[in-house]
Symmetry: C4
């Protein structure tokens, strides 16, 4: 029963992530009316950048979650609750993305965006640390999971929260901070890849 | 074949829950136009409270459903039908949430919200009782499932239906009743947790 | 690989059904502005009836599809193609539902609704017959699947197509025809239930 | 763990495809107001054509993806990343479909449509070639997968990119090119079918 339970929670979480990431498309509005369609479509390029940024951020959260979940041997009610709170912030991302796309020059848009994603990052961290502390992670997988709970994992929430006061001074600098975090992905990827290869060796 | 059938009904139900909970984000409207964005975003805090309330309510219904479904050994056509009716009410929640967010001061919004969620609670209860009475629950799991069909399980529909006349007098008091039900979750959680630990001991 | 393939096609189909059925909620519009909210919400009761009708129709198509799919031992490219065409009509249901809810008095709304659902019924029938004729259904499950391809299975498309000329004379009579089909569900359910019990005996 | 990982990535991808294909229905707008509903619904036939075209295109990408994924024995971080980028283009299809449905006569609509789908095709090709080059495909399935990475697989992106300059001269000719690609499906189907039968023989 536990195994089924874990699978269904994983499947439910995957479903919520898949829908939240797909609803990001709703942040792109098709221009109404018939005049100057070309100009109005081309002016949407900042919306498109925001779309790709949010896709990368939500996608990255999903990858971390799916790696983490694969190492669980059991769960308890608090873990389910932390997972639900985490998902409640992820589901807000289509809203914050549309807000940022439509009002990138207003301070409030990047502040709300950074707050929601910073809180999502903290929830994620809390969930992984709780699972490690409570012995919910299989012993042979602790080495795989611990990096996601360590100092490096703080980078995402720290950058998002640090970008809040920056947004008050300049919304565009805060957006550049997230873009750097996004372009820093390749570097993280290499570390992640080494982890995958290590676990590959273990499991075969 | 039965096993596959149960899995697919579970997966379909998870899918509907995952989508319904994610569509809650559509209850938050991004302000249009360019004036006073900050004020208009900040004025959305009641919508955000409603969002988190609905997320918690739908999330809780899903958790109960997934625990219940894990104890089934078979199903019949009536159980599928009850499940469909239950889902038809769950799918209405994004609508009732947006109605409540946009018109919290009108009596009609909390009345509709409470009616839909009270009926969802009754359907859920009817489904669990039917499964227990018809012997669809595995014998070793009856002890896990019975609490979800007992007197305590009546709390959710009773509170929702009781809040309907209250909403006529004061919409905000009825909303406070649901918030208390929501904050009472931690207490329920502990009971649920004991159940999980018990079943954990059984299955290992 | 075939087994995985079947599972993924089933999962994809479940996903599309789950989303299409959940998007039905978008046919209910939250009234904008602040005047006479109560009256305007109460005036939505025909939309709510249409919502429950479509939920029942899509839910019934899903139940038939999931029973049918459980009896397949293999598939081929044409079956996948028929399944896709079937899904293309199912995905149109949220649109036809909103059209019917908003314009129930216009002939065009029930005509479009009946056309789309009649075509969905025909596709479904074509898919089941093709699978039976091509030997894709497991021999021991032919008895379970054949009723879904027989004369009784023609009832759904025939009623929908017959309601098209009726809608030209009176939209409301055609809607009543579908409601009767919907309330006739209990009778069908009993037949389905006997089938489930029969297959239950076989598989245990 | 690897097996679970592959299954969850497959399930997540299926989820995103299922949602993106279902959101295509949002490109059909229900006419507002009460005058000349019939005429305005009937005038939506180009939107309906675009809907079926996009359904076929996204459906075809999904079928290729699901056949490809069934042949993987492992994955690495770069493959996940390529898959995410591919999904980011697929998720844009409901937007490009609505743009094309609303503004079929403007050059910009078919240009955007062709660009997004051409890039999706390239991503798909890059993913399959990377998996083959890196030895991620099971040896016994290389023969099944290689056609999807070969010269024939270039047809989809080449036709979409070639239709971009054509759209500048005449939007409708470019749309006809995609329709031909769509009606050419039967021919491809036969080749795919032979592949399925071949793999059927292998696996049984």
């Amino acid at each position: 029963m536990e195994e089924t339970g874990l699978n269904r929670i994983g499947a439910f979480t995957d479903g919520v992530f898949a829908i939240a990431i797909t609803l990001l498309v709703l942040s792109l509005d098709v221009p109404r009316g018939d005049h100057e369609i070309t100009r109005r479509v081309l002016e949407q390029w900042p919306d498109l950048l925001t779309y790709f940024l949010s896709f990368a951020v939500v996608g990255r959260f999903w990858i971390v979650h799916h790696r983490f979940f694969a190492t669980l041997r059991r769960f308890d009610a608090r873990l389910v609750q932390l997972n639900m709170l985490f998902l409640a912030f992820i589901v807000l991302v289509p809203y914050t993305t549309q807000l940022l796309g439509d009002h990138a020059d207003d301070t409030v848009a990047p502040v709300v965006y950074a707050t929601v994603l910073g809180l999502a990052g903290l929830c994620n961290l809390a969930m992984i640390r709780y699972a490690l502390a409570g012995g919910h992670v299989r012993d042979e997988d602790r080495a795989t999971t611990e990096p996601f709970a360590g100092r490096a994992a703080l980078v995402i929430p720290v950058v998002f929260f640090a970008s809040i006061p920056v947004a008050v001074l300049s919304p565009h600098v805060s957006e550049a901070m997230w873009a750097i975090l996004f372009f820093a992905w390749p570097a993280r990827r290499r570390r992640l890849q080494r982890t995958v290869e290590a676990s590959d060796t273990t499991s075969s």
